[in-house]
């Protein structure tokens, strides 16, 4: 979920420079001590690593500010032995705040019960890239974190060896101590911290990483998340929980139509609400303007309840602007018509037109997937304290570095004067990659001269967000006499996320084209993937798994349709289409591969087949199910991981749908914490079911028609799958890690549709299901 194939739009690549991706920044020890908040402790002092010795290449180095492999930045050891490890990615429920520090602790031989995790503030010069999106954290940081831990461990060992006057080869770090077994001597990490800090840092090339068989934590899944106790006792601190002395509470009335502007407002009634202190205009930016605030009117109060009540009393007049006629019913027709005509060809192999003309049978599927809202349980919220030319932010942000840049630009102050404190995120799903709410807080605090918390209500979140795109997908599959698929034409029509950055955008960006359209892995001789034009009429943004949702829905539903038309078993049809085990190299110039090099992360159909076969075996594909039940299967590669899902659905005679069982197999390469992988996949099934059953944001007269969880429903516990089983493919020893947070979502909806067909004979091509089964 990043824009890195579209440089200059999301982040200023010219300024940052590709070459700068490996940090050679000099960081003074004092600043580290300050940064870590360690008093009387020692930081392991080491020259900054200037090179990385990757066993495999990832795209980490190409991210803004790249990777910092420096134990001084990430690790400190206090005299009492407490090891502090910095977590520099944002925690929104994936477990990353535990997983990355756990990797360091593993390699360092630290005892996890004596480790403290400290959340990094937004500073990519110091910590490297912090964009927590694109399912990248473990993928990009498994090896760097191991190297950081191994460096720290080696320095502690060297310090102990010197103290004892023995060769370093004779000592070994074991569980928070360094031992010299020949003389039966031991020194705790705390006792060695001061000396270790004076040791030179070993070259990365010479570092000895632990053998996987010696892992105590990695791959075991027995460590709970670091925030577990705080979460269960109400102590965990999210964005909304930040309280500063003298802080004001604000809610904002924003333009109801994207690109609309305030004409006038009457604050009198709002000002009469008890607790309301002030009503003020908020600066807005013309659409599109990346993540800049929409503007509007803020109500400032002594508590949030008063601010909301005050806002309800505002009298507002808006000029709705250019998108005042945006209407989802009409727009759907427009998208579908475009999908029936040729569009920009983004992949061509063979001659699909001729093959379709000559085919014995052509199966056509037209699929529609509406806008979606993220509705993280914590609506957007931010606290800002701006004093003179300095700004401090506390916020749940997925992009702390980007937030820092944007606050600096918005206030016209140097980046170094902005501190971004990253709280826990009450869910993110891509919404919190856009920091507009932090910018609003900064603007208000500057004007008020006081700390301000801007709280979005659920209605704000649904009506003024950055929505998942709306999409028409049309697939034509041509079959020869034997039923073999010989032609495949897929037209995908959807407003692009790039439209939020640049006016006039009508085509998908390369990263969207690479998400399930042009990277389609089937072994078919004649392929045409096309992208007809579509303009945006609202703010489009990343949503967990992004374009993979509509593409997997279309492609994997079509597999079911072909199976249905030819009387084949869904799973057999799927394996036949995937074809032989091979590396797929689509005829696409610079195919987006989630920012990863093809060498490390090819499209590998052996792995794709493997997850299908594994889930079929474990999920008992083909088992007898009761009447009214059906099984459906789907597979999808996204975020360079491979995931297959089987859904068992039950549809009663009134069309009520339940999901007795879900089975999912994931191959995410080398992994850290199988317990958190399972939780992500369990959650992805719920999100997949939510978007399939209910997910629709629609527009009329330019305005979002939904307001809250009553008309934008998500799945509740009483309709959630009875059981979700997760199977993780054991990686070959050299398989690089790949994504986990997002890839579970795309295969769910098509597997469900295939299951519904098996149960009822009804093929649902338009999401959400809504009342379609009731007819």
């Amino acid at each position: 979920m990043n824009f890195i194939d579209n440089p200059g739009k999301l982040r200023d690549f010219q300024k940052r420079g590709f070459e700068k991706h490996i940090k050679v920044e000099k960081v003074s020890r004092r600043s580290i001590l300050k940064g870590l908040g360690v008093t009387g402790g020692f930081v392991l002092a080491a020259p900054v690593m200037t090179r990385q010795a990757f066993a495999y290449e990832t795209g980490a180095g190409k991210m803004p500010h790249g990777v910092v492999v420096d134990p001084r930045v990430f690790v400190s050891v206090a005299p009492d032995g407490v090891v502090t490890i910095v977590g520099h990615r944002s925690e929104m429920g994936t477990g990353v705040r535990t997983s990355l520090p756990l990797i360091v602790a593993e390699e360092m031989e630290a005892d996890w019960s004596r480790v403290k995790v400290q959340q990094a503030h937004g500073d990519e010069v110091k910590f490297g890239n912090q964009d927590t999106d694109g399912s990248r954290s473990t993928r990009h940081y498994l090896l760097p974190m191991r190297q950081i831990g191994a460096s720290a461990r080696t320095m502690l060992e060297q310090a102990a060896a010197k103290r004892w006057g023995v060769p370093a080869t004779e000592v070994k770090a074991v569980n928070h101590e360094v031992v010299h077994s020949a003389s039966d001597r031991k020194l705790g990490f705390g006792e060695l911290a001061a000396d270790a800090a004076k040791e030179s840092v070993p070259a990365i090339e010479g570092l000895k990483l632990k053998d996987a068989k010696d892992f105590r934590y990695l791959t075991k899944g027995q460590i709970g998340i670091v925030d577990l106790h705080d979460i269960t006792t109400g102590k965990a601190r999210y964005g909304a929980d930040v309280r500063l002395p003298g802080m004001k509470y604000a809610v904002i009335a924003r333009p109801p139509v994207t690109g609309g502007k305030l004409v006038s407002f009457d604050p009198d009634a709002a000002l009469k609400v008890p607790g309301v202190e002030k009503v003020m205009k908020v600066q807005g930016w013309p659409w599109p303007s990346k993540f800049q605030p929409l503007g509007g009117v803020a109500v400032i109060a002594r508590n949030t309840g008063a601010a909301i009540k005050g806002r309800n009393a505002l009298k507002l007049v808006w000029d709705d602007g250019a998108n005042a006629k945006y209407d989802s019913v009409a727009f759907r027709k427009e998208l579908e018509e475009a999908s029936r005509k040729p569009g920009l060809v983004v992949r061509r192999e063979g001659d699909a037109d001729a093959a379709l003309k000559g085919a014995d049978k052509v199966i056509v599927g037209e699929y529609y997937i509406p806008h979606l809202a993220h509705v993280s349980m914590e609506p957007p919220v931010a606290v800002a304290d701006v004093k003179g030319d300095k700004a401090e932010i506390w916020a749940p942000v997925q992009s702390p570095g980007g937030t820092r840049d944007d606050v600096a630009k918005t206030l016209g102050i140097p980046e170094g004067n902005v501190t971004v404190n990253v709280t826990l995120l009450g869910g993110g799903f891509g919404r919190k990659s856009k920091c507009d709410y932090a910018l609003e807080a900064a603007l208000l605090s500057k004007e008020l001269g006081a700390p301000v918390k801007v709280q979005w209500t659920r209605e704000d979140d649904i009506q003024n967000g950055f929505l998942h795109t709306v999409s028409a997908e049309r697939i034509e599959a041509g079959l020869d006499k034997s039923g073999k698929v010989i032609a495949w034409r897929h037209r995908s029509v959807a407003p692009s996320i790039a439209s939020t950055f640049a006016a006039g955008t009508v085509h998908q960006a390369p990263f969207e084209i690479g998400m399930g359209l042009a990277d389609m892995p089937f072994e078919i001789a004649n392929i045409s993937c096309e992208n007809p034009e579509a303009a945006a009429h609202t703010r489009i943004g990343w949503f967990r798994s992004v374009s993979n949702i509509p593409r997997a829905f279309a492609v994997q539903s079509m597999v079911g349709e072909i199976a249905q038309a030819t009387g084949r078993d869904q799973k057999d049809m799927l394996l036949e289409l995937i074809g032989s085990p091979r590396i797929v190299e689509p005829n696409v110039k610079d195919l987006w591969n989630y920012g990863e090099p093809q060498d490390s992360y090819p499209i590998d159909t052996a792995r794709l087949r493997k997850v299908v076969e594994l889930v079929a075996e474990k999920g008992e594909w083909g088992r007898k199910v009761p009447k009214g039940h059906g099984l459906g299967i789907a597979v999808h590669r996204s975020f360079v991981s491979y995931i297959a899902t089987i859904v068992e659905v039950a549809v009663d005679d009134k069309g009520k749908l339940t999901v007795p069982r879900v089975d999912t197999a994931i191959d995410c390469g080398t992994y850290v914490n199988p317990e958190r992988i399972a939780s992500q996949i369990e959650g992805a099934a719920i999100m997949g079911l939510s978007l399939a059953k209910y997910g629709e944001i629609s527009f009329r007269d330019g305005k979002v028609q939904q307001k809250n969880f009553d008309d934008f429903q998500v799945v509740r516990i009483d309709e959630s799958p009875v059981v979700t089983n997760v199977y993780i493919v054991p990686p070959a020893s050299d398989t690089p890690p790949s994504g986990v947070g997002e890839p579970g979502v795309p295969p769910f909806a098509p597997a469900l549709m295939n299951a519904i067909f098996a149960a009822t004979g009804k093929r649902i091509r338009s999401l959400p299901i809504g009342k379609q089964l009731e007819a």
Binding site: G93, T232, D241, A306, M377, S679, I686, S720
Partner: protein
Amino acid sequence: MIKVKINGQEQSWDGDPDLPLLWFLRDEAGLTGTKFGCGQALCGSCTVIVDKEAVRSCITSINDVAGREVTTIEGLHPNGDHPVQKAWRQVNVPQCGFCQAGQIMQAAALLMENPKPSHDQIREAMSGNICRCGCYQRIENAVHLASTGV
């Protein structure tokens, strides 16, 4: 002046009597464990226990709880070792964690009323609490575990 007992402590309020209890707890009393998720009693993130009943504090005014006893997540157990809290940790329920205070309070209220709920009863009683991360399978298992002894 409205008086209310929150987690055993007497608190008073002389502002707007219609102020939702949620905002009194969070912004005035500093008890931020109770979360804002929807403001319309649709998601359950703001669930607290009033006397012995789970209520949505976002639509309950401070006036409605005058003279009553409110328990929030902070007051559920002095060490955070209520059986529901312990079960939550044992099952590793949370992902982002934001809805969990509301879920835990709802579950605690359920077990006060029905110490041995069936799985169907758990699903029914917990259906007012949304978890967008989708921790439902674990929530169900944790409530069951809490009811059978942690």
